[in-house]
Assembly symmetry: C2
Homo-oligomer: 306 residues x 2
């Protein structure tokens, strides 16, 4: 398959997943007129503010790659996006990153106020776990597998990983980012971004009844792809187009944040992103053509503009 | 059994539960030296700031009342307390209730800063679900029952109930509490407090393999007891002793909050608390002496000083 055809296929598959996930979220999320209406409006505003739905795609695609029925994984695809959205809502708060725009729209707290944005994030996190606990069994996922998905998501999203990465970030910030070592930036990035992306791959694999070798492959793929994704995110903050990104750029530099370009320089950061993509792709060696879209996604991340 | 003996037995059983739950939490929560240390310190600071451990008691006791093995319910008892703690940490934030003291100690954000307190609450919520998903199966609770416990907790803690109550409260606050109807205060109280207390009773029952009638009884008990608990909380804010409560009093009045004494007057609020206790106790009519401690607890709530 030629590279350009693969990219076209990837984009069409991403769009297909996005539509499936958005339709399911629209059906499953509480309606805006349900009490308390303002909270449900804030939740829907945040979840439907756009976004590539990359994490849901990984859940569905990894389920498919191991031979599973991706429709069974739909509640989990929705759950990871809802959980991701909660972290964005809280990240944007004045006491955290203090961002006014996200995905080209005003952030939740700018529209609904700070207190309501905190509650919105809280309720989204709860809803992610509720989706897994109630909707996976309806799709005939066994209770054992549903429970493993919940444990996997909770572990990745918890104090040692995702929220741990945020905590490291804000405590480094309060110390003026004095420790600018490669180890420190990796410690933050693998927590803030790679852990959840890895969990998406694992959850897709679990629902697809992956065997141990397949789980190990998806785990490694998720880690390296997640790291590559965060490094390119850092790079885009330096050289990206704010219009395409839907958010301001140059903020990391201004705040002297710990990013790959800031620690390694832009050129070395690009090389490291490339290496992470290569490792992600080589993690998939036990799979045949069925993993081509995952490989294409990993390569595509180096070209991304948003 | 004489009333005074029952109260003594209740207090001793509450203390026994508190010790069990605190020991388990100490074992299961991430240690302070685990990365990121500051986040884990904030989590432990908040969870071990005291508290009666009323919700864990309800989980353990309701499991026992239906003939279950309460040790199997220990992870769930810990989970509900961790979840309750997260809501307190976020409630106390400047953009919410803006409280400096809780249980006689400085609130989380006063010690660790606002950003870290938000993350601490976030991580505590995740940890509550992680406990249910990983520790219940270790206690030989079936995956089906563990999943039902997760669904029950997520439902009660979510946007339609617990967090919904908070959202109603802050949106009423922003409108100067202009709607002071009995319906509105009930709408908030059954969400903010009764829903989680009811979930504790249900979860205990589920783990104890309660039959449908028993579940129905515990559900009603939890609702009425939860409501009685919140009404007495309102009353204590008007007439309680700040030293015994470990927090300032009179704040609801100052903020013109929607409370039972504010809406109904103090005497009528006391009558309504009494009625709720009576309904809680009569919900237990299908049980014999095995529910005596639940009955004693319900009566005791009217006498509470903290």
């Amino acid at each position: 398959m030629k590279v350009s055809t693969e990219i076209a296929e990837l984009l069409s598959r991403l769009e297909e997943c996005r539509q499936k996930v958005d339709a399911a979220l629209d059906e499953w999320m509480p309606k805006e007129n349900e009490i308390p209406s303002v909270l449900h409006k804030a939740m829907r505003y945040s979840v439907f503010a756009g976004g590539k739905r990359l994490r849901p795609f990984l859940v569905l695609e990894c389920c498919k790659v191991v031979g599973g029925d991706e429709d069974k994984a739909l509640p989990a695809a929705c759950a990871v996006e809802v959980l991701h959205t909660y972290t964005l809502v809280h990240d944007d708060l004045p006491s955290m990153d203090n961002d006014d725009f996200r995905r080209g729209k005003l952030t939740c707290h700018k529209v609904f106020g700070e207190g309501m944005a905190i509650l919105c994030g809280d309720a989204l996190q709860t809803f992610a776990f509720e989706l897994l606990a109630t909707k996976l069994p309806e799709q005939n996922v066994s209770a054992e597998v549903a429970l493993k998905c919940i444990a996997t998501l909770a572990h990745a999203a918890g104090s040692k990983w995702l929220i741990g990465g945020q905590a490291l970030d804000i405590s480094e910030q309060s110390e003026g980012y004095s420790d600018r070592s490669p180890e420190k930036v990796l410690l933050i990035h693998e927590r803030k971004t790679a852990a959840l992306i890895q969990a998406c791959c694992l959850i897709g694999g679990l629902i697809g009844n992956a065997n141990d070798d397949e789980i190990e492959s998806l785990k490694n793929f998720g880690y390296w792809f997640g790291l590559a994704f965060q490094i390119t995110d850092d790079i885009l903050d330096e050289i990206g187009d704010p219009e395409k990104l839907g958010k301001s750029v140059g903020k990391d530099k201004e705040q002297k944040k710990l990013t790959y370009p800031m620690v390694f320089g832009l050129e070395k950061a690009k090389i490291l992103a490339n290496e992470a993509v290569e490792r992600a792709i080589s993690s998939l060696s036990i799979f045949g053509d069925e993993a081509n879209l995952l490989r294409a996604l990993a390569s595509f991340v180096l070209e991304r503009k948003s």
